[in-house]
Amino acid sequence: MPRRYKVLTGLIALSGSLTLIFTGELNPVYYPFLFLMIYGYIRLIKNKPQGSRFVIGLSSIAGLFIFFIDAFLITEDYLVSVGHLSLVFHAIKSFDIKEPYDPLQVYFMALLQLVVASEFTTQMLFGAIIILFIFLFIYVMIMAHHIKTSLQLGLSTPLEARGLKNSLILLVISTVVLSAVFFISLPRLKYGLWGKSHIKGIKNAGFSERMDLSSGELKLDPSVVMRVELRPMIKGPHYWRGMALDYFDGRQWSNSFIETRKVLNRRGDEFLLRTQITEDSIEQEILLEPVDSDILFLMDRPVSINITAQRLERDLSGTIYLPKKGARRIHYIVRSSIQLLPEDKFHPQYLQIPPSLKEALKPFTEGLVSGIKTDREKALFIESFLKKNYTYSLTVTEPPSGVDPVSYFLFEEKKGYCEHYASAMVLMLRAIGIPARVVTGFSGGQINSIGNYIIVRQKDAHSWVEAWINQSWLRFDPTPSELTAESEPPKLFLYLDYLKLKWQRYVVSFSREDQKRILEGIKTLTEEINIIIKDSIILASRAIKRAISGVPVPLFFLVIISSIILGLLSLKITFLKRPSHKEVSLYYVRLKRLLKKRGLPIEDSSTAMDVFNYGLLSGLPEEELEEFIKIYLSARFGEKKMDLKHYRELFRRLKRAQG
């Protein structure tokens, strides 16, 4: 086997295994097998003896045994254990590559690894790896075929892979293009290939369905939760509403309307949230990363939601749920009204306040807002009061036992984070009889100036206040804005993130809708091209008519016909061009002439075999003569590549021997 073939086989095994390992799903206990495999291939490339059949067989059986234990008792996930098994088998196989077709098993295993990895990850990098892999894979398959054919022909050196590079590139490109065509045209499957999703959701995404005030510290996690394109792009701060919480038990907020979920009306893939249609709306195209929650985040006052789903639900607090969402990446488009819309319902639950708190807060708040008439102004005053007099802090000391966290924040600690501010404001409003609720979600985010979209991260999780004033819910945010202004991240990061968005949007969560749109786009494009072609033909014929109006018709046709013939001739010349054999034949003819001069019966009808025999007769060295004739024949009639320098050198040696 040629060295290149071995090295490539090792590379393929390595790329498959590394890809699988980088998904992070495998047990690190199996990593040593990777190093064992690398060692095996180093041995192979150095032409060390391969493992005996007995040892290989025994270890294969052991590997299978480990696999069954792994699959049924330890990992209990057949896909992961197949990944483990592939590492083990790669390691065993690396010591057992004897026949030229043995590497095919390696390629198959690597392919299997990529298939398994495709279930574990949807990263863009993986797509790039796949393309690289296809490249390598096709290359070695062609190589394997050449080696096999050469063996069958009994050739001592493998066939030269002529034009391999071009056909390789062509094959890879056509593979990618064909896959893209299939990707666009094949019907979408709703579920993954394996039924069970291995992609893990972001746990604890800075957002939860309850809000506990007693916890101590808030962590700032920069991982991305969602990316939003706004149309039109309006200035922030933006609020991505998740869930409204209404019930406070003294320590914890919760949503008591969670059981009031109702299925939303739909029209195709569009879910309608309101009967009135508003003209002024903001469209939000949201790509939500896998979050372990079935709540959708969107701007206030949604009018409609476009999403590929069986159904959507909404509870009385206005929270939107996608049932059975699980840890999936989802893509949806929301239209929200800019104008205030009258709400039809109000619930007394929004005035709930623990009695002890009411006692403490009512006099305090009434003292603050005395003299202010409207509810709206009162709320605004409380908002700015909290903003001005309290300090934002991520670390909060635990309140002493018996003291509730809100009073502790308001009267003693006087610092806290958004949850404290929001809770305090809602309870203060309720104490003076204004219905209010805490809203959790995300706020702010970073604008990516390249793709013109907003990146929302876990650390942008936020909570704020909604108050029922004049028959509609108004938003208040008592939390002072953060002190540190975020600097624009490096351009490279923005480009990468933009690429990621497109990848996630158009490859990973490619939907039936996208499919339809692309096919329709192609249709209109071809129609447009048709029109353009027709128009240009008409224009061109007119122009030609005008141009040749003075020229005699036969001359015109003569020019056209001769140019066609010239074009065809030039095509023929370029197509028939082959590697030149002039030089190849030159030395052979010179050898023939030399022998003839010595008086040997060399004629025009003498073949290479005659030349060889007479050459031996005249005392030429057999080895050189044989090699010379062999190279000549294979280059001349087999059209093989040759080392011209070596050929020339052989001729010189023969000439010298001739004397």
């Binding site: 022909l153 009994g154 003819v589 023939k592 009808s605 024949l633 009639f637 087999g638 059209e639």
Partner: protein, 306 residues
């Protein structure tokens, strides 16, 4: 030469002593999916060659002794009434084998000859409007005796044309003949031969042979030889297009046999006399061997592409 072919060749050489060319060309004919005509006096090993070739390739073997009263159904097979099934049942004849030795083919009547030759060409036989495929690989090795003129029906030219190659075995060299005298009958020895290659492998090789590259200049060279046979003053009828095709195929097999994946002028020069010898008709009545010499003479005048 690749390993299995090398082994096959040396096995045959160990049976038929001193006839290296004959064993080589029979293997070449097999690789080229052709049929072989051996013309020689009795007792020089024609049957031995055919039997040994079949045995060494673990192909099935049948021998048909052609006599003047042989009927086509004796070769192809007949429909026999089966009283249990109340239906006719096909009983395949001896032609249903990988390698068939048609011994003394010119002793039978033209009707039977043509039945055999049709099967050779089509690689299938028809009985009562039903067609039966012959096994693959399929090769007929026919023999005819040049000296026995009594009671023979010489093969017409159109039927000779179906044989790819025509060989003569000839008397052994003195040294080998002495050895052969001691050895006596070969059949027990052949019976004990262990196969060195299988029929599937032969079919694979046959597939590769038909893919072997032929340079344009080689085609031109072959064509010039063919044209020269048609112009020669001693030849009444030159080589047919089918003869040219078979020659090219034989040259490919010869190239493969020598471990190459392309044809050289030497391949053509080697096989052409054996492929063309029985295809041309001379103006004076002579043996085929003379025709072979004329072809050699023609080739020696055609310039070889360089």
């Amino acid at each position: 030469m690749n390993e299995p072919l090398k082994r096959l060749k040396s096995t045959l050489d160990s049976i038929i002593l001193g006839k290296e060319d004959v064993t080589k060309f029979s293997i070449v004919t097999l690789l080229a999916r052709g049929h072989l005509l051996i013309e020689d006096i009795p007792g020089v090993g024609k049957t031995t060659l055919a039997y040994a070739l079949a045995k060494a390739t673990s192909c099935t073997f049948q021998r048909i002794q052609f006599t003047s009263d042989l009927l086509p159904s004796d070769i192809i097979g007949v429909n026999v009434y089966n009283p249990e099934k109340r239906d006719f049942e096909f009983k395949p004849g001896p032609i249903f084998a990988n390698i068939v030795l048609a011994d003394e083919i010119n002793r039978t009547n033209p009707k039977t000859q043509s039945a055999l030759l049709e099967a050779m060409n089509e690689r299938k036989v028809s009985v009562d409007r039903k067609t039966y495929e012959l096994p693959e690989p399929f090769m007929i090795i026919a023999t005819q005796n040049p000296v026995e003129y009594y009671g023979t029906f010489p093969l017409p030219e159109s039927q000779l044309d179906r044989f790819m190659m025509h060989l003569r075995i000839g008397y052994p060299e003195p040294e080998f003949e002495k050895k052969a005298l001691l050895k006596g009958s070969r059949f027990e020895e052949i019976e004990k031969l262990s196969p060195v290659i299988g029929p599937e492998e032969i079919m694979r090789m046959q597939a590769i042979v038909s893919e072997i590259k032929v340079h344009e200049d080689i085609l031109k060279y072959l064509h010039e030889i063919i044209l020269a046979t048609r112009r020669h003053e001693m030849i009444r009828l030159g080589v047919s297009p089918r003869g040219g095709q078979l020659c090219l195929q034989a040259a490919r097999a010869h190239a493969f046999f020598n471990g190459r994946d392309f044809v050289t002028p030497d391949d053509i020069k080697t096989v052409a006399p054996l492929v063309f010898g029985h295809r041309i008709i001379l103006k004076t009545k002579t043996y085929i061997t003379d025709a072979t010499e004329i072809i050699r003479e023609i080739i020696s005048r055609i310039p070889v592409p360089v």
